[in-house]
């Protein structure tokens, strides 16, 4: 019941013009933003509905894909090219939400969804630096079972909730942006910021900047890719740990190319660069996989209740890589 205006953007230029007004927020499927407005955690003065803008999935000459930001998650997961060339993405989306949510949620909105940290949601009873900058954080010393073990700061350990983004991080997706200053492209792995002292600033987006598309580069070996989400229930739950992986092995049994990203463990979709570096050129064996996972988790800093995620992440990474080698490792 906090008043706000609503307008459907006629086109991208119209959206950006409206979106740069003070207090304006872009509205995609509304599956997260509308919830947060009901909880009065988000209080936009104006909603600019961009769900009617570009929603095409276009094949590019180099074998990549360009996915319009307004494309519904269901459309991406069901797209035949996605399913054949980037199965990790289709599986992550299906693991991410119920069909009803997937039917509404847009690709752009998924990138910008906010944490489900219970302290962030508890506006009446808890302190949260993300919701009220400088207020303090009740999660760090509180019930931290779902919180981050990598990339957190003393001011925030909330995890990024998206499954889709974990797959996009592994695939090296590039985010296309349009703002008042023109167009630019940002790698997905650089879109989200780590919290440091300003957890309220979650992305590198400029005020009013609009996500127009997500580009998937050609990545032939991603045809062999997988997503595994480990959670308390097999449906309707966020990841405790998730792993997106693509693997290419040579005829000599060594790892030629690998992509790895983690969900549920960090404030952003976590590309496992260290593990990838540790694996390239190594034998595609369980020992190598475990060593790579150890390397990635070396800097893990668990809180009171989430220490199990360190071992869970290592085991899940090892298991997914094992699955991609046909379980022979």
């Amino acid at each position: 019941m906090i008043p706000f205006t609503y307008a459907r953007a006629a086109d991208t230029a119209d959206a950006v013009r409206r979106g740069t007004a003070a207090g304006a927020r872009y509205l995609g499927g509304g599956t997260n933003l509308v919830d947060l407005m009901r909880e009065t955690i988000e209080r936009p003065a104006a909603l600019v509905d961009v769900s009617g803008l570009a929603a095409a999935i276009a094949e590019r000459a180099d074998g990549g894909l360009l996915i319009g930001a307004a494309t519904r998650n269901t459309a991406v997961a069901e797209n035949k090219v996605v399913r054949v060339r980037y199965p990790v993405l289709a599986r992550a989306i299906v693991a991410g939400a119920s069909p009803q949510i997937r039917n509404m949620a847009t690709v752009g909105g998924n990138l910008l969804q906010r944490t489900r940290c219970a302290y962030f949601y508890d506006a009446d009873g808890s302190r949260c630096n993300k919701r009220a900058p400088g207020q303090g954080c009740d999660a760090i010393d509180g019930f931290s079972r779902s919180h981050a073990i990598l990339g957190a700061s003393p001011s925030c350990a909330a995890t990024h909730p998206s499954d889709m983004c974990v797959a996009l991080a592994a695939l090296g997706a590039v985010v296309h942006l349009r703002g008042a200053g023109g167009d630019r492209m940002v790698p997905l792995t650089d879109l989200h910021r780590l919290p440091e002292d300003h957890p309220e600033t979650e992305t590198v987006l400029e005020p009013g900047e609009l996500i127009t598309a997500v580009e998937l580069p050609a990545l032939p070996f991603a045809a062999r890719s997988a997503y595994r989400k480990v959670r308390d229930r097999s449906s309707y739950a966020f990841a405790l740990v998730s792993v997106a992986a693509a693997l290419e092995t040579g005829e000599d049994g060594t790892v030629r190319e690998v992509r790895l990203a983690l969900g549920g463990v960090a404030p952003k979709p976590w590309r496992a660069w260290r593990a990838e570096d540790a694996l390239r050129g190594r034998p595609a064996t369980a020992d190598s996989f475990r060593a790579a996972a150890e390397a990635e988790l070396a800097d893990a800093r668990p809180l009171r209740d989430n220490g199990f995620k360190v071992e869970l992440a290592k085991r899940t990474m090892t298991a997914v890589l094992d699955e991609l080698t046909g379980g022979q490792a």
Partner: protein, 615 residues
């Protein structure tokens, strides 16, 4: 009430003496062809499907206002300041009620303290500035719409003078415990010297178990629509106990029981959580103050903040046994937390009182006190969490003795109720164990943990599709098998093969029903005319006469002839009629924990069983 045989029995006699042991069977109950047991449509089914069954939140009343609550954010103390000005001037607001202007009301009669006492606690409702739990309503807003009320409630600003509160189990126990009671009876029982017998027994287990708080989560949010007509109060409620709520509201408002008219024809899930709580009392108070009908529908948050759930427990189960399995000692003791303002201590020894014979027995529950929302009944109160501890311990003992856990239970089957000595009115536990063991292929169980590797998941769907395809005479790709995830835990009871067997039995039974339905549709001119369901077989996408397979007609042809495009049947493994809601939760925790142990070698004695405990 669903869980409320205790509460129900307080208001209504349990039953005629002829229901007791040794009495003659009721001739109607033994009649085989009456309406009971026949396949009938739910009488209220069409109303519910069409949305015309009116639940408490749907009954219209002229001039009605909508209520919303603001809740305390500290567990104990006093309200220091309460600024309602923004709420009062918000759009559509009719009334803001706080302890400053609420009508004077009597203390609610706490559940279990009188025959028809229904209130979750006996705390005064919005009568002073004291706060007793985090989430206690501190203000109520009435407005022309639900949304206006919610918004205005969010504008109420409260500050508090907090006093130290006890909010953890450990803290509560350190402050001291007291003997717990249930409906006035102490929750304790002793026969012989169980500790000495335990110490002397050749086989022993002595284990601690913990169970967490459980919140009520009925699909229908708690709601009430009510109005005053002079001194008469008309209440459209979602309660499980209409008479209890009527009597209790009469006590609170100082009127006669007959002046309160409570109806609750449809309850969208109760499970013990739909009694009398502050929302009904506050709605009636606001209706009196504003002189208009009032509706309140709690948000899910509101349910968590103001409707009690099952209290946490900490239980010790110790059993001393002989090599032949016979129990020398059975000890089940422990601590529950509750508030000073409610009468229910979670009675986790209720199942232990009647399950096993033992040479000596010691049962007892102590209560520790928290500053929290009062706890209450939840499905299978006592038994649900008590059986988790007891039956987990028995499995651990069975392993220690090296005896099959079913056999161990059978060896300790009592002749009479072991604590009262009275004969059982009805007891079929051994039969049930044996029947279950047979269906689960229990004898093929691998008792060593962590050995059996086969899983479920896609294997189940495929196996069931295979069974269905074979039965239906269809290629596999024309069969879709779907199964609810919530049904999966049942399969854990006895390891990997049980689900296939039990679901398969249901598929086979359903197929038999389906053949009968299809034969009914086959016309007089059909080659199948006159066949009984056991004389017909499925082949090549149709049915044939088993004794003459040339007599065949396709499903498509039969359905076309009958001008139908689908035919359906359903079946489950046949069972006797029993209230299964509570049975479905009693013992299940232990069964799952025991199966998890069998699968992984890890014993979890601290619920919930989450994956981190298995790493």
């Amino acid at each position: 009430m669903t869980t409320g045989r205790h509460q129900g029995s307080a208001a209504v006699a349990i039953g005629p003496e002829s229901w007791g042991p040794g009495s003659r069977p009721d001739p109607v109950a033994t009649r085989k062809h009456g309406p009971v047991g026949a396949q009938v449509s739910r009488i209220d089914g069409p109303l519910k499907v069409r949305g015309t069954a009116r639940f408490a939140a749907e009954v219209p009343m002229e001039g009605m206002a909508y209520a919303a609550l603001a809740y305390s954010t500290i567990p104990k103390g006093r309200i220091a300041t309460l600024d309602t000005s923004a709420a009062e001037s918000a759009p559509g607001v009719v009334l803001v009620m706080t302890h400053r202007n609420a009508p004077r009301m009597n203390q609610p009669p706490g559940f279990l303290t009188a025959a028809k006492a229904a209130s979750g606690d006996d705390l005064p409702v919005m009568q002073d500035d004291r706060v007793h739990w985090n989430g206690q309503p501190v203000a109520l807003v009435l407005a022309h719409t639900h949304e206006q009320a919610q918004h205005a409630a969010s504008l109420i600003q409260a500050t508090y003078e907090a006093t130290p509160a006890v909010t953890s189990f450990e803290q509560a126990r350190e402050n001291g415990v007291e003997q717990a009671a249930f409906a006035g009876e102490p929750l304790s029982f002793q026969a012989g010297d169980a500790e000495a017998a335990l110490a002397a027994a050749p086989y022993q287990v002595d284990l601690m178990f913990r169970t967490p708080r459980h919140n009520h989560n009925a699909m229908e949010l708690h709601a009430v629509t009510l109005a005053w007509d002079g001194d008469e109060l008309v209440v459209h409620d979602c309660t499980q106990g209409v008479q209890h709520v009527a009597w209790s509201l009469a006590e609170i408002f100082g009127i006669r029981e007959e002046q309160v008219h409570v109806s609750a024809p449809y309850v969208g899930g109760g499970f013990g959580g739909k009694g009398l709580w502050q929302f009904q009392i506050l709605a009636a108070a606001a209706a009196r103050l504003a002189q208009c009908p009032v509706r309140i529908v709690l948000s899910r948050e509101g349910v968590y903040r103001t409707i009690g759930g099952r209290a946490p427990t900490e239980q010790r189960v110790a059993i001393g046994a002989q090599a032949d399995g016979r129990f020398d000692a059975l000890i089940h003791t422990g601590t529950v937390v509750k508030t000073r303002h409610n009468a229910l201590a979670e009675p986790f020894i209720t199942a232990t009182r009647c399950l096993y014979a033992a040479g000596s027995m010691k049962l007892g529950i102590q209560a520790a006190y928290l500053d929290m929302l009062s706890n209450t009944f939840m499905r299978a109160p006592g038994e649900a969490v008590g059986s988790f501890a007891l039956e987990s311990a028995i499995d651990e003992l069975a392993e220690r003795i090296g005896m099959d856990p079913i056999e161990l239970r059978i060896r300790n089957e009592p002749d009479n109720d072991p604590t009262s000595g009275l004969p059982f009115s009805s007891r079929h536990l051994i039969e049930a164990y044996r029947a279950g063991a047979e269906r689960f292929e229990w004898n093929q169980r691998e008792p060593r943990p962590g050995v059996r590797r086969e899983g479920m998941g896609m294997g189940t769907a495929t196996a069931q599709a295979q069974i269905a395809a074979e039965r239906l005479g269809l290629p596999l790709d024309q069969v879709t098998f779907t199964y609810g995830e919530s049904s999966l835990p049942g399969a854990v009871l006895a390891g990997g093969s049980q689900q296939t067997a039990s679901s398969g039995a249901a598929v086979v039974a359903a197929h038999r029903e389906l053949v009968a339905e299809i034969l009914k549709l086959a016309g007089d001119g059909s080659p199948l005319a006159g066949l009984g369901r056991d004389e017909a077989g499925a082949v090549d996408g149709g049915l044939c006469d088993l004794s003459d397979p040339q007599r065949w007609e396709s499903y498509a042809s039969i359905l076309t002839g009958a001008e139908r495009d689908e035919v359906s049947a359903e079946a489950a493994a046949p069972m006797g009629a029993r209230g299964i809601g509570e049975i479905g939760i009693t013992g299940v925790g232990a069964a799952v924990a025991n199966a998890v142990y069998n699968a992984t070698g890890t014993r979890v004695r601290d619920l919930p069983i989450t994956l981190d405990k298995l790493l």
